[in-house]
Subunit: 147 residues, 2 copies
Amino acid sequence: MASSRWIEHVYETLAAAGLNRSSARDRVIEVLSGQDCALSAAEIEHRLRAAGRPTARATIYRALDLLVEHGLVERVIVGEGQARFEPLEPGGHHHHHLVCVQCGRLVAFDDPGLERAIDDLSDRLGVTVDSHEVLLHGACDRCEATA
Amino acid sequence: MASSRWIEHVYETLAAAGLNRSSARDRVIEVLSGQDCALSAAEIEHRLRAAGRPTARATIYRALDLLVEHGLVERVIVGEGQARFEPLEPGGHHHHHLVCVQCGRLVAFDDPGLERAIDDLSDRLGVTVDSHEVLLHGACDRCEATA
DNA sequence: CACCATAATGAGACTGAGACTCATTCTCAC
DNA sequence: GTGAGAATGAGTCTCAGTCTCATTATGGTG
């Protein structure tokens, strides 16, 4: 769950970027902040509508783009078809996800060994790696336990 | 470039699975076999049309699904929006890709260290990893050299 | 407070990938 | 050759995400 610290960080960052305050964007930020797992744009739209605060799809996408652009939210691509968005804690460590093939849950993890292995690749391949994504498919700890 | 050996392997596998031979599917297989980098379904459609052998989109998707299902083709997800398909050599080693942020080229690579790091994750996280995807973004060796 | 430039919003049309449908056509074992 | 089942094609449909543009909100300035 993203902390209220995250919300503050978001507002500070957006203000520092010289952006206006806007109620629709605030709504999107609020929904994201109260959420543990990554949400899709459609889920955010539904939640806002359910909360009696319907918000145009374009507005939601604009807010998400902006947040991603400022490093406040991470766009997580889980397979095809739909991007998911996840609050990025200020000093948050870089992490990746496992998609549970049984329950569909998205589980975050980080691993120094994995990061090191990827860092080492640059030299070996003669390429410059700007960023990387790792996505695992498998059974999460919960499903694993009940199997 | 996928070898003619790949084509043979594909036909053997599909025949062993009790599937009929079909000209449309053969066309898709042929386009894939002549290609080094991963193709999107749309690209395959265009090539077939350009070659005077137009083929219905649904047929192309069906053929690709089938090939992926039988482990003959790999579905590579490069960002959002569009899957790409790549022939998978019979004894082909597991590999990943780097998307060049400059030229857009998709470069394949493999790395035992990376695979090991991912294997080690299962125990540490208490999950069972069935499969994994790694995607790097950066400058490929060609663009790196000319930079 | 009033004004204005600019930023943001909302509604809906649009796009593009991919899935679905169903009538027609092809394959292949007999 | 024939018939059952597989495959095809043309088109429709869905769904995520983008674009447009008229309207509205924001915040600095006089």
